[in-house]
């Protein structure tokens, strides 16, 4: 009797459990379908807000853009584009801390993402935090870049880092980054010119000249490369080469006043340099005498405004040198020429200090003196 009752109870239990199980399965399927539907609505709504935010941002309504991006990022949390856009909008409105927070969140989710690191680097750069910016720039450089243009993107980031370091007057670190960029440049004149200009900015004229020369090898008629090469050669005190490049640039159509001034100066340097190779003894003496006369004339003008015993002494030395030049009568005397160039340089330098910066021939004489500094 009791056993029958137990069996009956068990049967009822099993039946009830089956009914409950079936209900649970149906509810599960229904819930899944509902979740899929709501998920697709979520994505659609988020995309709509993102588009709205992008429109607002482009039209300069940063506040509206922040609101829209906030909604998009909140609705579709898995879409990082929305949060990145929000961070950009926040940064654009100087809400740097909030932007930093959003970007950090993205970075935590994907530490090797180059884009997130780059945005963080730019934000740190904007806030003037050099060390943090450099760390993030390097993280971006070492990070994962998607797409076929990864190399170019990485190079552009490094160039951006170089520009940031130059702006922060950290030329040494900028140069080390530039040397890395230099090894991975494509065969494009524009790329070589861009890097060469940066080399010039950090004071490495040698690499600059090489890159300008490489750009010219790739495109013989690139005026920018010619001008840049002229400037780099000028910085290297290679005035003949500088004159060659600058004249070519002018001939190719570079009408800028800067180029014209540089060319004029280079021409004067090449015309007045007594120590230029391949000159005869007379020509050297003539050039030395011309330069010395020019320097003495400037010295006398300066004396009339502000005299000093130093200038008097230099004037005396200049007169003695002129006499010595005349006395040699065109004979070879390299020591005298060298000493004369040194004297000319000292006069120009002294006058520069008292009566203002040298211009024209005087500037050329200063350059000549500086170039041959080791001979004095």
């Amino acid at each position: 009797m009791n056993d029958e009752k137990t069996v009956r109870l068990l049967r009822r239990d099993v039946l009830q459990l089956c009914v409950l199980g079936v209900c649970v399965i149906f509810l599960y399927l229904f819930t899944r379908a509902a979740a899929a539907r709501i998920g697709s609505i979520d994505r659609h709504v988020a995309a709509t807000w993102y588009a709205e935010g992008t429109r607002s941002f482009r039209s300069g309504d940063a506040k509206g853009a922040i609101e829209s991006f906030t909604k998009a990022a909140a609705i579709d949390r898995d879409n990082r584009t929305y949060l990145l856009a929000l961070a950009d909008a926040l940064a654009a409105t100087n809400h740097n801390m909030e932007a930093q927070e959003a970007l950090q969140r993205l970075r935590e989710a994907d530490p090797t993402n180059a884009d997130f690191n780059l945005h963080l680097a730019r934000l740190a750069a904007k806030r003037g935090n050099t060390s943090e910016a450099v760390v993030y720039y390097h993280s971006a450089l070492d990070g994962m870049w998607a797409g076929p243009e990864a190399l170019e993107q990485r190079r552009n980031v490094r160039i951006e880092l170089v520009q940031f370091l130059i702006a922060k007057h950290d030329e040494n670190r900028a140069l080390s980054e530039l040397l890395v960029v230099d090894t991975e440049l494509p065969d494009k004149p524009s790329a070589h010119i861009q890097v060469a200009k940066l080399f010039l900015q950090v004071g490495d004229a040698r690499h600059a000249l090489n890159d300008f020369a490489e750009a010219l090898r790739l495109d013989l008629h690139d005026v920018g490369a010619m001008t840049g090469a002229g400037e780099a050669a000028f910085r290297l005190d290679d005035y003949r080469k500088a004159r060659h490049y600058l004249e070519e640039a002018t001939a190719q159509g570079d009408k800028s006043s800067r180029t014209a001034e540089s060319l004029s100066l280079v021409r004067m340097v090449t015309l007045y340099d007594p120590l230029a190779p391949g000159l005869g003894a007379k020509e050297r003496q003539r050039r030395l005498s011309l330069g010395l006369n020019q320097a003495t004339q400037r010295l006398e003008e300066c004396q009339s405004k502000s005299n000093s015993p130093d200038l008097d002494a230099l004037k005396g030395e200049a007169a003695a040198m002129q006499a010595e030049i005349l006395s040699t009568g065109g004979a070879q005397d390299p020591a005298m020429i060298s000493s004369g160039v040194g004297l000319t340089y000292r006069i120009e330098n002294a006058v520069d200090a008292r009566c203002g910066v040298a211009r024209g021939v005087d500037e050329a004489l200063l350059l000549i003196g500086r170039r041959h500094g080791d001979t004095q």
Binding site: K5, L17, T31, A34, A35, R37, W49
Partner: protein, 586 residues
């Protein structure tokens, strides 16, 4: 004759335990699914009612009209579905043997979706708990489980629902123990864990593994930073207190209004919420989107401060006006905004290195939750489960305890219990319940009992029991127990004129006993299975009688300790199946 009866009882007992275990899993899955479906329905309702970019008129009309309809349903059909759901479940568990009518679950689902979906600033976790508890209670009755087992399904379902709604299984179990049962050592922990894990598995299989919040990596920058977290604890406590006091004050005012206005109260709340939403739509509904924003950056300091203040007001209005929805997620929202704002200020002003504002928002969530809900362990583990980072423990506990202490100092009664009290339901606090349940059998027993010798005749037994009012007596010699005998049986034998029958022929040898260190819960359980007397025997020698517990002695203890609200226990003790048809109006 006794042997088959024992086998049948054992089989029944075995059956009930097995069914309960299976039901724990099934109810866990069901609770998880209903919690997810409830969440999705709210989202769907919000989209359907507001569209993508609602106009000001729509902001006003939708909450007002939908709240009016919800108010009609709440007043006429589902009065128990107003408010959060957690206090109702607590009351049902402690005062009505866990009985929650099935229509409550249905009503809560419908009105909850309407109220939260139409923009009321309320949470979905409390309603999920009530829906799941209602389903579990209904299923328990359908399976004809014993009242004790059916009652036990309620906290199990509550844990599963919270786990499904919030994706934090451990915190959900703790919440069920700490808040619903009020005893961290409750024997239901195994079933609650089983149900909670089932719910989380189901929830993840439906919604994916993406956590509810994307939390920032937590880092305590220096020991000095703990000072900032103490400040956060103070702010969290102040916010909790403002919320609790504000809600109770406003709800008190609303409850004093004439009953005929009850139909319109939710609509009036909807109108106010609509006006708020025109200016601050971020406080709409659950608001986890913006909690995420606070955790991950993207919200300005001013925005967070404004959102904290407006959310506080909006939630008070929504809840006090009698709509259906909880305070679980609003407390997290308030905490995230307050914490994020404190974090930003610390970040800007502090002289020591400090973590991200998101980290403060995270700890703030725990602090305000601890202050409002008064479940500090749940709060700590909830945040720990969200971060899965041990480093968060110390600052979290510092902020939580300060917030909890401030809140308790100025608002001694926990919010859920204070809300019940406003509805004239007096429920002891968790601590009091725990203390009561920790009473031991040795403190409840009495040594004033009658023991009848097994060799005595029925006539002498009748003489012995005639001087007392008890219904059941011990049978034994020299303090050695051999069984029980009931007054009814002795009297029946006397009527049949079997006066010389020895007592040992009539003795009940299958009976329950307890030891002196058994808890009150065990005593109640076992006394309910005996015929009116529970022997307390020695652990060293289970036939050595130490005392007895009777319904009368227990009733006296309950009256002394707890007062009249503990009648439910007495009734259970007497073996009555409580079937309350009338339900309280919340």
């Amino acid at each position: 004759m006794k042997a088959p009866a024992a086998t049948f009882a054992q089989r029944l007992r075995l059956r009930e335990n097995q069914i309960f275990l299976l039901l724990s899993v099934l109810i866990g899955i069901l609770s998880g699914l209903t919690a997810v479906l409830f969440t999705l329905s709210i989202q769907g309702a919000t989209y359907a009612l507001f569209g993508i970019s609602p106009s000001a008129l729509r902001f006003i009309l939708v909450p007002t009209v939908v709240s009016f309809i919800a108010g009609f349903l709440l007043k006429n059909y589902f009065p128990e579905a107003r408010g959060s759901g957690v206090p109702q479940v607590e009351a049902a568990y402690h005062l009505r043997n866990g009985r929650i009518p099935g229509r409550v679950a249905f009503g809560k689902f419908v009105t909850g979706v309407m109220c939260i979906g139409c923009g009321h600033s309320m949470g979905r976790e409390g309603p999920s708990v009530q829906i799941a508890a209602g389903l579990a209670s209904t299923i328990g009755r359908w399976f004809r489980l014993s009242p004790e087992k059916a009652r036990s399904l309620v906290p199990v379902a509550a844990a599963a629902a919270l786990a499904g709604a919030f994706n934090t299984p451990v915190a959900a179990v703790l919440f069920a123990l700490e808040e619903i049962i009020g005893d961290m050592n409750a024997p239901l922990i195994g079933s609650a864990v089983l149900a909670s894990v089932s719910a989380v598995i189901v929830e993840r299989s439906v919604l994916g593994n993406s956590p509810i919040f994307h939390v920032p990596q937590y880092r305590l920058m220096s020991a000095t930073e703990l000072v900032a977290y103490m400040l956060l604890g103070v702010v969290g406590g102040a916010v909790s207190l403002a919320f609790c006091k504000g809600l109770l004050w406003m709800r008190g005012l609303v409850l004093k209004l004439p009953p005929r206005t009850r139909l319109y109260q939710p609509a009036l709340g909807g109108l106010i919420i609509g006006a708020i939403l025109i200016f601050v739509p971020q406080v709409m509904g659950v608001g986890y989107m913006f909690v995420n924003q606070a955790l991950n950056g993207g919200l300005l300091l001013k925005t967070m401060m404004v959102l904290c203040a407006v959310k506080l007001v909006a939630t008070i209005v929504s809840y006090a006006s009698g709509n259906a929805g909880g305070i679980f997620s609003p407390s997290l929202y308030l905490g995230a905004m307050a914490g994020g704002a404190v974090g930003m200020l610390v970040h800007k002003l502090a002289l020591f290195p400090s973590g991200s504002p998101g980290a403060y928002a995270l700890v703030g969530m725990g602090a305000v939750f601890a202050g409002i809900i008064r479940a500090p362990m749940t709060s700590v583990f909830m945040i720990f489960e969200l971060t899965q980072d041990y480093e968060v423990f110390v600052p979290l506990m510092v902020a939580n305890m300060i917030s909890f202490a401030i809140s308790r100092q100025f608002q001694p009664k926990p919010l859920y219990h204070a809300l019940l009290e406003q509805d004239h339901v007096d429920l002891h606090g968790a601590a009091a319940r725990g203390a009561t349940l920790s009473q031991l059998a040795q403190e409840l027993m009495t040594s004033d009992f009658t023991m009848i010798s097994p060799n005595a005749s029925v006539a002498s037994a009748a003489d012995a029991i005639s001087t007392t009012n008890a219904n059941c007596f011990l049978v034994g010699d020299n303090g050695t127990l051999s069984g029980l005998i009931s007054r009814d049986r002795v009297e029946r034998e006397m009527q049949l004129n079997r006066k010389n029958t020895p007592v040992h022929d009539l003795v009940i040898s299958e009976f329950r006993h307890v030891h002196p260190d058994h808890s009150l819960e065990v005593v109640i359980d076992r006394l309910g299975r005996n015929p009116g007397l529970l022997p307390v025997v020695s652990r060293r020698n289970s036939s050595h009688i130490l005392g007895v517990i009777t319904p009368q002695s227990l009733a006296q203890f309950v009256r002394q300790s707890l007062g009249n609200q503990r009648r439910g226990w007495i009734e259970q003790m007497k073996g009555r199946d409580q079937e309350e048809s009338a339900s309280d109006n919340y």
